[in-house]
């Protein structure tokens, strides 16, 4: 037990300290780096709990993949230090009080002895020799098959959404213009008029006439031999 205890008391305070660093450090880059430390220390705690697969997955997905994207974002937008004046003393006092109350509420939950059944000897032996991967896979394909599959739908939708939100908005071409006739007084009856007059699309670039585009396309096709 000594090794575990020593390691736990390395990882856990490290995670908490780094989490405080995430919140309180003035530089965004350092906050992101502290976040990496948090994730890696939690991966360490996972290892201590026999969850080796989870620990490695945590390292790959959160420790690196996620934080790299965050770092990417920060580097694109620049690292501006937080302005402390944003929070007035009164607000800070309020935050402090709310935080302290939440902490006080959490204390009984932290010290409570949860009645979780200990794992059997055989299970621990399996964990130690084969690791948790096989058992995890089995659980995912039997007991938790439905949530597992739904999670894949969830990720698919999130991916589609991310693409939608970051995709360049295309203006429909003449050939495929919006067929709905809108009242001519407000917007217009063709796609071009709508896009010119509508306030929500006023900034979009104007599409060139389709006829010209088609000629170009034909020429190009000849050029590249399609």
């Amino acid at each position: 037990m000594i090794v575990e205890n020593i390691l736990f008391w390395i990882f856990a305070p490290l995670a908490v300290t780094a989490a405080l660093g995430v919140v309180f450090h003035r530089s965004l880059i350092y906050s992101a780096l502290f976040l990496i430390v948090v994730f890696l220390s939690i991966a360490g705690v996972f290892v201590l709990n026999n969850a080796d697969f989870l620990a490695v997955a945590q390292t790959i997905v959160y420790g690196v993949g996620l934080t790299i994207v965050i770092l990417f974002g920060i580097m694109f937008t620049g690292d501006r230090p937080f302005d402390d004046r944003l929070a007035s003393p009164g607000k800070r006092l309020a935050y402090l009080i709310v935080g302290a109350m939440l902490l006080a509420m959490l204390i009984p939950a932290a010290v409570y002895q949860y009645n979780i059944h200990p794992a059997s000897e055989a299970l621990i032996a399996t964990y130690m020799t084969e690791g948790s991967t096989g058992l995890l896979g089995l659980a995912l394909f039997t007991q938790y098959a439905l949530p597992f599959e739904v999670a894949s739908v969830l990720l698919l939708l999130a991916m589609v959404g991310a693409i939608i939100l970051s995709k360049k908005q295309m203006v429909p071409t003449e050939k495929t213009s919006v067929k709905y006739a809108l009242p001519s007084t407000t917007l217009g009856s063709t796609a071009e008029e709508i896009y010119e007059k509508a306030p929500f699309h006023g900034h979009l670039p104007k599409e060139q006439p389709a006829s010209e585009a088609e000629t170009n396309g034909a020429e190009t096709q000849e050029m590249i031999g399609v």
Partner: protein
């Protein structure tokens, strides 16, 4: 019927994959599978950049939702050959649910009467939203295809929420709904308000989910490491023999309730609602206020009813039930008072949603079969009346590009039908007789008042609030019917494009008929919701002893 199922799903069951699933599992989730198929096919369709191809997705989605509705009804109609009763209803002699295998996929999902009913109305709501969203989205977005896909995805999440019987399943379904909604809210990227709504929703929603998850983790610990609802109850009972800590249990309850209250936009967790409802595209607002709300309510009802209102948790949490009452009072009062001074129809309906959630929370305060079933009935009527109001708002915005209340002035002179529909739905929302809203409110308040003399005051305040709400609903009606036409209305054309107005008209007709029929003859659906809710209670206490 079983032979048919076998022949359809037989090859799956006989394949190596078949050891994990059974034909019943697949059958009871057929609507979800259909939606999934439509999502997959539709994504291929939307890969094309051409707008015409993108528009095809709408037809596919409507077809998919319609088929899903149909399959749901056929699930409902499967009868036991022995006594001719639907499988989903209880066996009248033994009070046992039938043997079709209500637990689906290792009891992750319950396809009982409650979830089938809720899923039916979720699908109906989505169908209505799809019907009136087409023109709105296709004139505003150059990639309308994914809009429908995401909406179906959100519906899928909501439907799974309605039957989720496990904390993990619940969470995954909740996130499927949530993430799709975040994206839908920001779908019109050209509009800053839409993007703002999306971002706000994402940040608020993420925080609320984190709090909810914290509560779940406490529940997981308290029950000795269980995630299934029935197992949690058992685990809590075991843990209770050595004494559960009140502080921890109540912390768990408060955190979970906080998360739920956010999802239901009950005050004081309502801050996000008006901004997001206003910023999001109007069909999305309609979707969020009806389908998303209904799914969230179904989830909360099942969770509270199955886990927290049975033996050990109920005794410990009894003193905390007053929180529901407080939330209800704050929500209805704040929602109604704030709705008074709103200038846009979307914001007004947002605050009115908060107020309605307040009324519904009174049902949780009592937490009996009657009150919960009247919540369910209220939600059914809410699908028709609120979606109807939104359909009119969408149609008005389509024709004029405006959504402020002042622009509605004198609408009756140009579009009498539109004005009439709006009047009817607003009256229903206010709870005027011969509309569905009246019976919904009546049943709810009546069950609450009947539960005990202590609850009378809540009902009195709720009635007062209904009176306040009448003011802002009537205000819109007065503008439409009496006031001089606004410039917007004067500019409107009297002409009706039949082809483009057909889906919206269809949606309006369905909403109107629904609201009217439920207002005249509410008994069948009231009985259905009572059956559904009471089966929820019976299923979960007795199924346990039966299966274990």
């Amino acid at each position: 019927m079983n032979d048919l199922i076998q022949s359809i799903f037989g090859w799956v069951v006989e394949s190596p994959f078949g050891q994990f699933v059974s034909a019943e599992n697949l059958l009871l989730l057929t609507p979800e599978f259909l939606l999934l198929v439509v999502i997959s096919v539709g994504l291929f369709q939307t890969m094309s950049d051409r707008l015409d191809d993108q528009k095809e997705t709408w037809k596919l989605s409507v077809l998919g939702v319609f088929l899903a509705l149909f399959s749901l009804v056929s699930i409902f109609l499967i009868v036991d050959p022995a006594d001719g009763v639907s499988y989903l209803f209880m066996d009248s002699s033994t009070l046992m649910p039938s043997t079709l295998g209500l637990p689906v996929f290792y009891d992750m999902f319950r396809a009982d009467l409650f979830s089938v009913t809720v899923r039916f109305f979720l699908l109906l709501g989505t169908l209505l939203v799809l019907l009136f969203s087409r023109r709105y989205i296709e004139t505003r977005s150059s990639v309308p295809g994914e809009f429908y896909i995401l909406m179906l995805g959100a519906t899928l999440g909501a439907m799974l929420m309605a039957g989720a019987n496990d904390l993990i399943m619940l969470f995954v379904a909740l996130e499927t709904l949530g993430i799709s909604s975040f994206i839908l809210a920001g779908y019109l990227r050209g509009e800053p308000k839409s993007t703002e709504a999306s971002l706000k929703y994402l940040v608020f929603g993420g925080t609320a989910t984190a709090v909810l998850l914290f509560g779940f983790s406490l529940l997981y610990g308290l029950s000795g490491g269980q995630t299934g609802f029935q197992e949690i109850v058992q685990g809590l009972q075991q843990a209770n023999s050595s004494g559960l800590n009140f502080a921890v249990v109540s912390l768990m309850f408060i955190m979970i309730l906080g998360g739920f209250a956010f999802k239901l936009s009950a005050a004081p967790f309502h801050m996000w609602t008006p901004d997001i409802y206003e910023g999001a595209p109007t069909p999305v607002t309609a979707f969020l206020s009806v389908v998303s709300k209904m799914g969230a309510f179904a989830m909360v009802i099942r969770f509270l009813f199955v886990v927290l209102s049975v033996a050990p948790a109920q005794e410990i949490l009894m003193p905390l039930y007053m929180i529901f009452g407080v939330l209800a009072l704050i929500s209805m009062t704040l929602g109604n008072v704030a709705a008074l001074k709103q200038t846009t129809i979307k914001r007004m309906l947002a605050y009115s949603t908060i107020a309605h959630v307040g009324y519904l929370f009174l049902g949780f305060l009592v937490m009996g079969v009657d009150s919960i079933s009247s919540i369910l009935f209220y939600l059914m009527t809410y699908v028709f009346m609120n979606l109807g109001a939104f359909a009119v708002a969408v149609q008005f915005t389509n024709e004029t590009g405006r959504d402020d209340i002042a622009a509605y002035a004198g609408l009756v002179q140009k579009k009498p039908f539109l004005a009439f529909y709006m009047t009817f739905f607003l009256l229903s929302l206010a709870g005027i007789p011969i509309t569905a809203g009246f019976f919904a409110k009546f049943f709810l308040f009546q069950t609450v008042a009947a539960a005990g003399s202590g609850y009378i005051w809540f009902v009195v305040i709720a009635l007062l609030n209904s009176t306040i709400s009448l003011y802002y609903y009537i205000n819109v009606i007065r503008l439409m019917l009496v006031a001089e036409p606004s410039d917007t209305v004067i500019a409107m054309s009297r002409r009706v494009e039949f082809a483009t107005a057909l889906p919206v008209t269809l949606a309006l007709m369905i909403c109107f008929l629904g609201t009217l029929l439920l207002g005249v003859y509410a008994d069948p659906l009231m009985a259905l919701s009572r059956d559904a809710v009471s089966q929820l209670k019976v299923t979960d206490s007795q199924m346990l002893s039966q299966s274990k």
